[in-house]
Amino acid sequence: QDAKHSFKMATGWPGGPLMDIGAKAFAERVDQMSDGRIKIQVFPGGTLGNALKVTETVKNGVAEMGHTWMGYDWGRDTTTVLFGGYAGSFDSERMLHWLYQAGGVDLQRQYRDEVFGVVSMPLFIRTAEVFLHSRKPVRTLEDMKGLKLRTAGSWLDMAKDLGAAPVTTAGGDVFPMLERGAIDATEWGTLWEDIAPGFHKVAKYLIIPGVHQPVAPFDLVINKDAWAKLSDKDKTLIETAARLTTFDSWLRIGEEDAKALDVYRKAGNEVIELAPEVQYRTREIADAWADKQAETNPWFAKVLASQRDFERRWANATQYRNVKVRATATQ
């Protein structure tokens, strides 16, 4: 009764951690857990279909599976931003708890099914990103004024409210623009992931934390027909493999980020922490944005309500979970 399966998986990634400890790690784990019965062949972004439209590629059956970031689909529906993470999200630890313990996974499955016609579950999670690789030091709201920062997605809207002058460009133009100063700063990925593109070699200042993206859960999407062909046991196997891969990615990124900070310091970068006023202000802007979306979008309202309930429940978590230690003790 244990049928063999062979799936194509489209991704949005050319390579890097998302590929190696995300899509590929998942494929290997499924292979291993199924004793080689379920084979998943992973394709780099842009080869099977458009790298930003993996959901469509999977829904249409060009690939049976896909690994994507739900936020890419915000043009279809802004609720995707709540699952993909945005400036109003909680941190990665809380996000994992919301997803796996407070109903997030179920909401995600239901939402993706109803609105996009695919089966969906979390796969891979990012911790807070680097806020900016910048040619100018950025600390305060004053510093943000008129800052030409390159970004994409819904954060463009909110960055304007912070006083910045956000720029949209093609991915290929970002490096030359930053190198020559056509833009002041750009965001990209986490500390670890940003070593490879090398923005830090042409932009001296590394601005943290990523208030625009405190967390980014990624999304495994599966074609409904392909999913229906799996036995219940295999469905559970896929779900377990995805969850394990997600936790592993979280652990790995946590440790690699810590190491990466040293790489930047050794490369001569100056690491700057955003002033609290910028961090608070960003969250306010994001909350206002989310409230506005919720007014007209029932799905957005439903998911937002669930996330806010969770956050209220966890309001005192820092007090009972984190012991205060003098900063000097860890230096």
Partner: protein, 439 residues
């Protein structure tokens, strides 16, 4: 399933040989094999490719550079510019071809998109070289090879894709390719000069007794014909270097500049402008339809197991470090025949960089070798995008035979560059270590 990808090529090559347009040959191959792999879902894949290629912002540089070339050509500015170059280089063997290579370097430094440099310089330089009876194969070789510098002299779109895939800094690659690019351009210059020395009819010089123009006269012609266009070109390059504009935007500034320049010379008419616009459409539609069909075919090739095939080949071969490097570069060369650049990079780099690095080679150095290799492939007949683009802009008296013959010596020079980079990795690695970072 794995072998299926291989069967695509007999079909493709048969259609091409029959004379079916390149884009339609690729479209047909993609559809036949895509049907086998994806069944009815194929149509969605093709639709996504249409959207993908049509939404690619950096391709705007091709359109803009082609327009700049057409505008300068229609307004007679291109001819006058190269005539002014000729005034100074008429006594130098192959002077116009040398001027063309210099022009290619300048345009290569202003754009990083494949095809942009070649089409703009080709539109400018071919008519004048023909008029002065330059050897047709030499004209073709100069344009195709000079144009291919566009991706190896920074900026370069290919490298931006390549960096994250190979887990190396885009900056290291962009700076690392400067010397290999200049070495290659240097070879072109030396070759053209020597060829025209040995075979004076290849790039004829004006005999001394006919060169009666005084220096004052030459200066006057230069001031009128050469300085304004050069000023415009420098503005384009400058806007990029000074950080005013992104590479794509610099191309737009150049396009606008060409219209202003035509107005400056009093040659801006509706007929000229509309002529340039319509000619631009023809050339860009031709180039991009090939890109689109190529991307469709690549998608099917990958879906049919082409990647697995390459991987199995390397796994089975069990080679030492240099053998592995040779095999990977050989596969790259072959892939360059029928797949688009970006896809080659997307497939080959993540697949083979780890193996190459494990064999003890430097990743940045490997990436540059890889880049030179696809560039050579891009120039090598019968499936040579460089030649397709040239076909699209060259007058009919230049035949495909001229092109095939013309690119051969330049292919040799690229291989020579490849060998130099192979033997002296410092040509790649030295400059980034000096230029980048904050220490």
């Amino acid at each position: 399933m794995t072998m299926l990808a291989l069967y695509m090529f007999p079909l493709l090559f048969s259609l091409l040989l029959l004379g079916v347009p390149v884009a339609f040959s690729m479209l047909a191959t993609a559809t036949v094999f895509g049907w086998i792999v994806f069944d009815t879902a194929l149509v969605f894949q093709l639709v996504e490719k249409v959207e993908d290629v049509a939404s690619n912002f950096v391709l705007a540089a091709v359109t803009l550079f082609v327009f700049m070339g057409c505008m300068l050509e229609r307004a007679g500015i291109a001819e006058q510019l190269f005539e002014a170059v000729h005034v100074w280089t008429r006594r130098m063997p192959g002077g116009l071809a040398l001027g063309t290579v210099v022009m290619c370097i300048i345009f290569a430094a202003s754009t990083g998109v494949i095809g942009a440099t070649e089409t703009v310089v080709g539109l400018l330089a071919i008519p004048v070289m023909l008029k002065h009876r330059y050897d047709k194969p030499l004209i073709c070789g100069t344009i195709c090879a000079g144009g291919s510098l566009g991706t190896i002299i920074p900026p370069s779109v290919v490298v931006v894709v390549m960096g994250p895939l190979a887990n190396v800094s885009v900056g290291d690659l962009l700076v690392g390719m400067v010397f290999p690019g200049l070495i290659m351009a240097g070879f072109y210059v030396a070759y053209i000069y020597l060829l025209c020395r040995i075979r004076p009819d290849a790039g004829p010089v004006v005999p001394a007794e006919e060169d009666t123009m005084t220096v004052a006269e030459k200066l006057r012609i230069t001031a009128f014909a050469l300085v304004p266009p050069l000023f415009m070109i420098v503005t384009v390059l400058g806007s990029l270097m000074l950080g005013l504009a992104a590479p794509t935007e610099a191309a737009a500034i150049g396009a606008a500049g060409s219209v202003l320049l035509a107005a400056f010379y009093g040659r801006l008419s509706w007929a000229t402008l509309n002529g340039a616009v319509m000619k631009t459409l023809q050339v860009t539609a031709m180039i991009m339809t090939i890109l689109l069909a190529g991307s469709m075919m690549t998608g099917v090739f990958i879906g049919a197991g082409g990647v697995t095939l390459a991987q199995e080949l390397v796994d089975k071969a069990q080679l030492g470090p240099w053998g592995l490097l040779a095999l990977v570069l050989g596969l790259t060369f072959l892939a360059g025949f029928f797949l688009d650049w970006i896809s080659i990079v997307l497939i080959m780099i993540p697949l083979f960089t780890p193996l190459i690095v494990a064999a003890g080679f430097d990743a940045v150095w490997f990436c540059i070798l890889f880049l030179v290799m696809i560039q050579t492939s891009y120039l090598t007949p019968p499936m040579a995008p460089a030649i397709f683009y040239l076909r699209g802009i060259a007058p009919p008296e230049i035949t495909t035979g001229h092109m095939y013959r013309g690119v051969l010596p330049f292919i040799g020079l690229q291989v020579l560059t490849l060998i130099i980079v192979l033997v002296f990795p410092q040509t790649v690695l030295w400059l980034p270590s000096k230029l980048l970072g904050f220490n």
